[in-house]
């Protein structure tokens, strides 16, 4: 089981801030493909990966990073702090 968090317009597009999923995905990319196949709102949110960032257990990561041992995945647009 893995927790998936969504922020900003990713959260709005998918329609929820957080969900727990059962997945066999080996990498972030695999997980994205799995979610996108589920429903249009996921496909829409993940349509342009260049516009997205991902964090694994609260550390920024790449889309080809492995998910082994990861408990929390977060998807969000580029940050606009400061």
């Amino acid at each position: 089981m893995i927790d998936i968090l969504y922020f900003a317009w990713v959260r709005e597009r998918i329609g929820l801030p957080k969900e727990r999923v059962e997945t066999e995905a080996r990498t972030v990319g695999d997980l994205v493909a799995e979610l996108s196949a589920r429903e249009d709102r996921y496909a829409a949110a993940f349509a342009d990966l260049d516009a997205l960032r991902v964090a694994l257990d609260q550390e920024l990561a790449d889309f080809d990073a492995p998910l082994a041992g990861v408990r929390e995945v977060a998807f969000f647009p580029p940050m606009t702090g400061g």
């Binding site: 977060a74 580029p78 606009t80 400061g82």
Partner: protein
């Protein structure tokens, strides 16, 4: 070193107190970023963040700045939630022996907060909401360091 992430407004005095009482401090730089209303139609700003990751990310930046510029003290405050025009969004303070270090560290922290701290800004203008887009410049700025 202090990291504060809160919805409530903060006092500027919290920043200018950086390094207080430490005899080696010769320079204290503070930065405050506030909500601008350039078009005259901004109702409010809504800031979302990623609790947990926010604090971790900022602590890592402060640790990096401390090492690189020999900071004697460093403070980062960042608000989330609803902010009105003119309100302070965030603040940074750096205390070092010399001016150059304090300035560079504050500048570095700001660059990193802009694009490596998990905050997202949304503007509400005339009842319409829109997410603030990250600037390419923000990403380019990181390459300075």
């Amino acid at each position: 070193m202090t990291v504060i992430v809160q919805a409530a407004p903060f006092e500027a005095a919290l920043l200018s107190g950086a390094g207080r009482g430490l005899p080696g401090v010769g320079a204290v730089v503070t930065f405050i970023g506030q909500v601008r209303d350039t078009e005259g139609d901004l109702e409010r700003m809504e800031i979302e963040h990623y609790p947990g990751m926010t604090e971790r990310a900022i602590e890592a930046m402060l640790a990096e700045a401390t090492t690189r510029w020999d900071l004697l003290d460093g403070i980062v405050i960042h608000r989330y939630g609803t902010l009105l025009p003119g309100e302070a969004i965030m603040g940074v303070a750096t205390a070092a022996a010399h001016r150059a270090e304090a300035f560079a560290a504050a500048d570095f922290l700001m660059d990193y907060l802009k694009s490596r701290a998990p905050f997202w800004k949304k503007e509400v203008r005339a009842g319409r909401m829109s997410w603030v887009a990250a600037k390419d410049d923000d990403e380019t700025a990181l390459r300075r360091w």
